[in-house]
Amino acid sequence: MRNPRFLKVAWRIILGLRNDIRTLALMFLAPIFAMFVFGLAFSGEVEDVKVMVVNQDQGITVPVGGGQVSISQMVIDNLDPEVVVVEYAESEKEGVAAVENGNVYAALVFPPDLTANALEKIGGDTSAGDATIKLRLDKSNVNVANAITKAVSDALLKTVEQVGEEPAVSISTGEAIYGENARFIDFFVPGVLAFVVFVLTTLLTLISFVSERTSGTLDRLLATPLGPGDIVMGYATAFSLVGLIQSALLLIVGVAAFHIIIEGNVLLAFLAVAMLAVVSQALGILLSSLAKQEAQAIQFFPFIILPAFLLAGIFWPLEAIPTWLRPLSYLVPPTYTADACRSVMLKGWGLGKIWVDLLALMGFAAAFLALAMLSLKVRKD
């Protein structure tokens, strides 16, 4: 039995890629490059933030034994050294000036008699003096400001526990249900899979298909026994294969270089990626019918890249997208692949739980394939 004709089209595309080292490098090295750039530079964790500490607290001398107790010093010692780099100033004015000059992100001011007042308050003395620690923040960088606030709050909580005061209400996070020890890169890699496969497949199909139209090969193909279905399915087959190889390479490098977490069956992640590749190539074919030249195809790039970048939950969770904008996220196909890959890789979910994502991808694939075939048939009218 002879191979179906769409396989000839698929093989032709693969041969073309094999002959073209530059495109091949773009397809397979660009995703890995992107993963390294984002994985190394954009860890999502704020570290080494300079904070100016103004410690006016004299502490107290313990009556028995003569030891010195300083709550301010305990708080300073409890600050997470990975997040906060402590520098010292003599006065609040000097500390605030350092923030104003941009030398540090915050001034942490411990008032005089902090320890004495705090201990009196713990002892139940309602007339005790002020025991408020002042945190003067540069909030122009929200991430950094939040990281400092959290570090100071954590240090304070720990200090209160150390002085023997148990809070009435406490929280226990215990062992995580999913993603114990997960880092930003673990969240990011599944998103990158979806992002690069969607963007590169759509753009490459768009450009190759515009070229099929302008160079006359599409006319030549449609004058042969090949139908629009053979051509679209040929492209779908070739680009799914390319998407699978891209994903496999990304995952291998992700595991080797970043030790990313893969809890579930990685084949399910591959399935979601392959389905996205089918959707993306059909979208590329569809868009190509709107461009008369390759230069015009470039005008579509922002409309392909930006929604995927901003709305698909690649770099931040969907919950970080404004509620009114969120419905649009569900119209961007990589949203489902990113979600499916994360569920499989980080949570170890199986088909029984990610079927909604796969169903959505199937819906997109069916609709876009039908529209792509229609766009080739419409030429006949």
Binding site: V9, R12, P225
Partner: protein, 249 residues
């Protein structure tokens, strides 16, 4: 049976063929008959409707009204697609593939076996005189070589009918001459050729020519007969004569 009869005599037949794009009529009530085994030249200025006619006959465009038959099949027809060859105005090859890969691909599209493609490839490379170049990428070939490869790709499945849309545009005179030698050889082997051109001097190579203007056939016949009726010494002048008359002789 009726179709079979048509095919006996005519490889191409259109009746009252009309193609409109919106309000613009590209092909207007065209009755065209191309006899089996002849080279028929469709001549006319740009915008005369030549390419549109060829695209309809290849099944690339739907007709607005009228009928057309190719090799006895009512168009569009998948059966006919197996027996026709088509070269669009562009060379229509994959520049990133080698000569060999292009020929193999088009052979595969027509469902030929690997063995058959191999045999045909050798014959065709000899025919277009590019045997030494089969492993070269098409993008590295000269314009003339690309045209020759394009012809080979359209011939891989031994079509009975070839549609050639302006195959000699942008081709130097020497290569044009060799192209016509190829076409003559194909005709000798029984292939029918419908060729469009706006080079009037090429018409002398055709068995019959048809002048097209504004979607209509304004004159048709053997080149020498057309000259005789128009009373001119060259076909360009003859075209002007028929254009002024606006009808057939």
């Amino acid at each position: 049976m009726r179709n079979g009869e048509k095919e006996d005599r005519f490889s191409v037949e259109t009746r009252n063929l009309v193609k409109r794009f919106g309000k613009f009529t590209a092909v207007d009530d065209l009755d065209l008959k191309v006899k089996r085994g002849e080279i028929y030249g469709l001549l006319g200025p740009n915008g005369a409707g030549k390419t549109t006619t060829i695209k309809i006959l290849c099944g690339l465009l739907k007709v607005s009204s009228g009928d057309c038959y190719v090799l006895g099949e009512k168009i569009p027809s998948r059966r006919a697609a197996f027996r026709i060859g088509y070269i669009p105005q562009e060379t229509a090859l994959y520049p990133g593939l080698s000569v060999h890969q292009n020929i193999q691909f088009f052979g595969g599209v027509f469902g030929l076996s690997r063995k058959k493609i191999g045999e045909r490839e050798s014959e065709l490379l000899r025919f277009i005189n590019l045997e030494e170049w089969d492993r070269e990428l098409v993008e590295n070939l000269s314009g003339g070589m690309k045209h020759r490869v394009s012809l080979a790709c359209s011939m891989i499945h031994q079509p009975q009918l070839l549609f050639l849309d302006e195959p000699t545009v942008g081709v130097d005179p020497e290569l044009r001459a060799s192209f016509w030698e190829y076409f003559d050889q194909l005709k000798q082997s029984g292939v029918t050729i419908l060729i469009t051109t706006h080079y009037m001097d090429e018409a002398s190579h055709c068995d019959r020519i048809g002048f097209m203007r504004r979607g209509r056939l304004i004159a048709e016949g053997r080149p020498e007969k057309i000259l005789e009726i128009a009373g001119t010494s060259n076909l360009e002048d003859a075209f002007m004569v028929f254009s002024r008359r606006g009808g057939e002789p």
